[in-house]
Symmetry: C2
Subunit: 350 residues, 2 copies
DNA sequence: TTGTAGGCGTTATCAG
DNA sequence: CTGATAACGCCTACAA
């Protein structure tokens, strides 16, 4: 039933070591012996036992990917990119996601102690989670993703949130001449939201525009929530050169819908912009001006870094910063081309 | 540097087997010995080597999940459900997706020969792929997902496409009184599309409605494609009691947008319905009538079946059929409640 | 309750 | 070019 390397050896009339060589370093074995072995392998349907193999080689060719939550398009794209790159490099991906904000620690521990991976990419985007990976005393190669703030020690790939938000804000103010901009973020615990909000305030002040506390909202990134919220207030938000800066496309979409329903015209009476450039950005009417976050590139880069470190464990940490790209469409009222925009997925290595 | 069970044993002043017992069957070892061992483990930061362990136990507690493509919300949800259930049951998930239609075979082979999984869930939704898993002569527990047509031999979980499409079509004809219904599917190689189309034709005929060949289109499930396509023809489609049945929500959304743009009112001049009930279904104006496919339930169920079989390898195959639920919203023109609709995720076990 | 000894399936080292 | 033989780290009878 279960066939091992010994069975193959016997059948081919050679020693175990020869079979092993045929599998791992064909060139070292005589052509016709090799053929006999190959045949025996085929006939027996032999497959090397990965456990035994891993025991010697101390590697599984599997990489871990820990995510905050596999909700929605964002993470789906990260996974997509990571998966593609992993396969390209001959690895498999063990993917897992947090079941709740407090679960990060548990997940990592479990992944680390009960699973066989050669390295791990970790994304933590909620603040209270702290830095779960630090608690883990292990020599497993780690790469930190996005929110999981660079700690200098580990390889990391982050989205340059500031650059993206700045490009967007400046476009709104300089190109579109916005005078009042409202900010609608996700939870205040979300690091991306906070980074965007900070830039929002900076650019506003730099432009001598008022940052009124009641123009800053924190919802939960969901369409329904944002829609219900906006429905009651769009009229109040409307006005010449007024704009809503939503921290993700879904909320932006909700604002557009609420506005349209209330006969507030977008962008004439109220401009709306989003963030991420998920698929829905092209489905809103008018199409959404937003900032494209290179999600799949992020996943792919993480895997790449991981593999590089696996190949050379002692190199100094690499920090990759991915620059988002401003996508000017119609919801901001200025459909003309933005100036010099970096190519999609453009990267800057620090 | 690297600490093994022997180190722990030495430190605790016991034998290796005792340490092993402490780890695997605590109850068999004296309380205070146990404590000494536990302490040694902690001090040394010892973690059992999963390779060695797997070599003996012949299991990795990892399950494979092979998908056609991790694009979009659909697969993202399947992963989500599978991941949650897997963690709940103490497993980890090795996820991988096809890079192209012809890649299924390669993916499976690679996953099977190079990765350590106790079982595998496979989803194949494109026809030309055939039945890749059949080529795999292995005794690895397998569960077939959705499109991967039941083959009787393996456990499987499928979506009852027919039931979903029937509920939708009957609603359109009986409740909404539609007289002309156009079908807009994905590629003809997509098994889901074909199942839906078949039901479409059956119900049309059963209702004595004409199934005109030029009312059946096959696009590619993408918004852009559908939008461009619809823009040129919505006017021709419009008419009292006319309706477009799109095989997924994204295309339905595109049709609504194209219609709205062309001043064809939805649903008065043209009703539109979709399939899947992805997030965008609630974001269209009017909100989309569609069929909810229990995507995450599908993933979760697959993992469940896999684990059951792992626990009892010789039980006869289980076939689970998940019934989709009709979601009546406004785009079909009949917002009233549909009659008896099955609960979400309602299942029927055959 | 604890220790001894054998084996799980491979790869690596080193003779031949 | 090929074949013994020793790890690899752990689990599990079986013996004490």
């Amino acid at each position: 039933m279960r066939v091992s390397i010994g069975d193959v050896a016997r059948r081919a009339g050679v020693s175990i070591s020869t079979v092993s060589r045929v599998i791992n370093r064909r060139e070292l074995v005589n052509a016709e012996t090799r053929q006999r072995v190959d045949q025996a392998i085929a006939e027996l349907g032999y497959r090397p036992n990965m456990f035994a193999r891993g025991l010697m080689l101390r590697k599984s060719d599997m990489l871990g990917l820990a995510l905050p939550d596999v909700h929605g398009e964002f993470y789906s794209e990260v996974i997509r990119g990571a998966n593609a790159k992993a396969r390209e490099l001959g690895y498999h991906l063990v993917i897992s996601s947090t079941n709740g904000p407090e679960d990060a620690q548990t997940l990592l521990e479990d992944l680390l102690r009960r699973s066989i991976v050669d390295g791990m990419a970790i994304m933590v985007s909620e603040q209270p989670g702290g830095r779960p990976w630090e608690q883990i005393e292990t020599r497993l190669p780690l790469v930190l993703l996005d929110g999981a703030v660079e700690d200098g020690e580990h390889d990391s790939v982050v989205i340059d949130q500031r650059a993206g938000a700045q490009a967007l804000m400046r476009h709104l103010i300089r190109r579109c001449g916005m005078k009042r901009i409202l900010f609608m973020g996700g939870l205040t615990t979300n690091v991306d939201t906070m980074a965007r909000r900070q830039v929002y305030e900076e650019v506003m002040r730099a432009a001598d525009l008022p940052v009124s506390p009641e123009d800053v909202y924190h919802l939960d990134f969901q369409y329904e929530t944002a829609y219900a919220f906006a429905r009651d207030r769009v009229k109040g938000w409307a006005g010449s050169r007024h704009c809503v800066f939503a921290a993700n496309d879904e909320m932006a979409c909700a604002v557009i819908d609420a506005a349209t329903e209330a006969r507030v015209r977008v962008p004439q009476d109220l401009a709306v912009v989003g963030f991420d450039d998920t698929r829905i950005a092209r489905m809103t009417r008018p199409p959404l001006t937003t900032v494209r976050v290179p999600m799949s590139t992020m996943g792919a880069t993480a895997i790449e870094l991981l593999c590089k470190r696996l190949a050379d464990p002692d190199q100094p940490p690499t920090h990759v910063s991915l620059t988002p790209q401003l996508m000017v469409r119609e919801s901001c009222g200025a459909a003309q081309q933005a100036g010099a925009k970096p190519a999609p997925g453009d990267t800057h290595v620090a």
